[in-house]
């Protein structure tokens, strides 16, 4: 089969470009994170990050915002999808395709929309102020960021969870009801255990999505809010203090964080209902 090996040649350009734009840069970061400013090998970049209250704060804020926005996004998506499956198909199709479109609504345009809606003089802020519900709202704080992150998590959560709910059969709910189980017990003992793998998987994707998000927070706060992606970008493309090796260490920590989350997810999955069965 000589032409099988000729065919292999067709793979080359693809592999080459993928290596140049994805694999080599990643390998470079890995290596650079262990090289100090003086060109020596060692862990000093990592030590610098972990000794600095500033970077530790960035990591903490990143984790907090990601965790809360993922949990909130997931909860809203679960409630939404559950109801979405019970309404008539025209409304459902409309909402699903709208969710599809809004899943592209993130980053800079989203930040602008939120400033208009919830900025200091935002429409919703003014409305709620006039109604006497709030004194004022500061979008540029941790709470504000959790809110805006949650917004872009919802469509993703809905799209990922919608097919998973196929696993729930309508007659299970009916059987449970016949046997005297209320909605709470049905969810606690039937629906949630069946959905666990899907929920965990979606949660992990949402978490990774939030941890790596840069555009939204950058556009909203002009890069002034202290989260890991903003710090990484400032170290390689900021205008005050550049240190690509430190940026590499920080980037590797971010990737490691995602890896840990994935491993924990796999471990939890093995212990769950589906893993045992």
């Amino acid at each position: 089969m000589k032409h099988r090996y000729w065919a292999l040649l067709l793979l080359l350009p693809f592999i080459l470009f993928f290596a140049v734009f994805q694999l080599v840069p990643l390998a470079w970061i890995m290596v650079a994170s262990f090289v100090t400013v003086d060109g020596e090998w060692g862990l000093s970049n990592y030590r610098d990050v972990l000794d600095s209250p500033f970077y530790l704060q960035a990591i903490r804020y990143s984790l907090e915002i990601s965790l809360w926005s993922s949990l909130l996004g997931l909860a809203i998506a679960v409630i939404g999808v559950q109801s979405l499956r019970q309404v008539d198909s025209r409304l459902r199709d409309m909402v699903i395709s709208f969710t599809n479109m809004t899943s592209n609504f993130a980053g800079v345009p989203l930040a602008f929309a939120f400033i208009i809606l919830l900025g200091f003089n935002g429409t919703l802020t003014l409305l709620l102020k006039q109604l006497g519900v709030i004194e004022g709202f500061n979008l540029y704080t941790k709470g504000g960021l959790i809110l805006i992150y949650t917004y872009f998590q919802i469509p993703l959560g809905v799209l990922l969870l919608y097919p998973a709910f196929d696993a729930l059969r309508d007659d299970w709910r009916e059987s449970a009801a016949l046997l005297g189980a209320g909605p709470l017990r049905y969810w606690r003992h039937i629906a949630l255990p069946v959905l666990t793998p899907a929920l965990l998987g979606t949660f992990v994707i949402l978490l990774a999505n939030a941890l790596g998000a840069y555009a939204t927070v950058y556009a909203l706060t002009t890069g002034n809010f202290n989260v890991v992606p903003v710090r990484i970008a400032a170290l390689v493309a900021g205008d005050i203090y550049l240190d690509p090796n430190l940026a590499s260490a920080l980037a590797m920590l971010l990737v490691a964080l995602m890896a840990v989350i994935t491993v924990v997810h796999q471990w939890l999955l093995k212990r769950s209902y589906h893993g045992k069965g």
Binding site: I116, T123, A237, A247
Partner: protein, 262 residues
Amino acid sequence: MARASVYHRLVVWLLLLVLVLPLAATLLYSLATQWSASLLPAGLTFDWYLRLWSEPRFLAAFGRSLLVCVGALAFACLLVLPAMFVIAYHFPRLDAVMNVLILLPFAVPPVVSSVGLLQLFAGGPLALVGTPWILIGCYFTIALPFLYRALTNNLQAIELRDLMDAAHLLGASTFRAALSVVLPNLRKGLVVAVLLSFSFLIGEFVFANLLVGTRYETLQVYLNNMRNGSGHFTSALVISYFMVVLLVTWAASRLNRDPSSS
């Protein structure tokens, strides 16, 4: 049961409301003559759109975005299609390797990749930073997982081996058969995947801002640079951008649904 269905409808409408709200506010703002410190705009106008669409800097940024996205997608198709065909036909075992590889652009956030990209392509033989070429390369990797997944699903559905055997029997070379038998069968899936990739590539900001910035200002970078301009003007910009995405995703879903167009 009736009470339950009212509840479900309420939840769905509430979800829709939450998703629509930021967009609706932006739309209203883009149409308002003036809107500050009051609940409703003072008056409505199309002026901001007229101003936006006659702004040379906006048109240039829009053109650059189109060029980079279309370029990256064309490039991606050129590389992915033959590679995919070879893997599916000759080396099915490589599919497992590919599935791991294409996870990388998903798993590694752009802000992380750009650290390495900035160092590697700032100087030397490949001084790509600041040029549209680096964006085309990066966007190729972003679109790759998506294109690959969509197309392999499609390839698996068409009985590749039987098709190729039939073409060979009729005297076609492998190349000829791939080009005039397999490719037309993938056309619809390809168009849908390309349209959907386009809709998220045109929203890409991180690579564009970090690797190129104002040296080749794309739509998203322009939008970000306009932050201190009039809110009405930027709203018109956001809505215009969203309309483009809307149009493209709508076309994709139409193509996907309509069975007669294949």
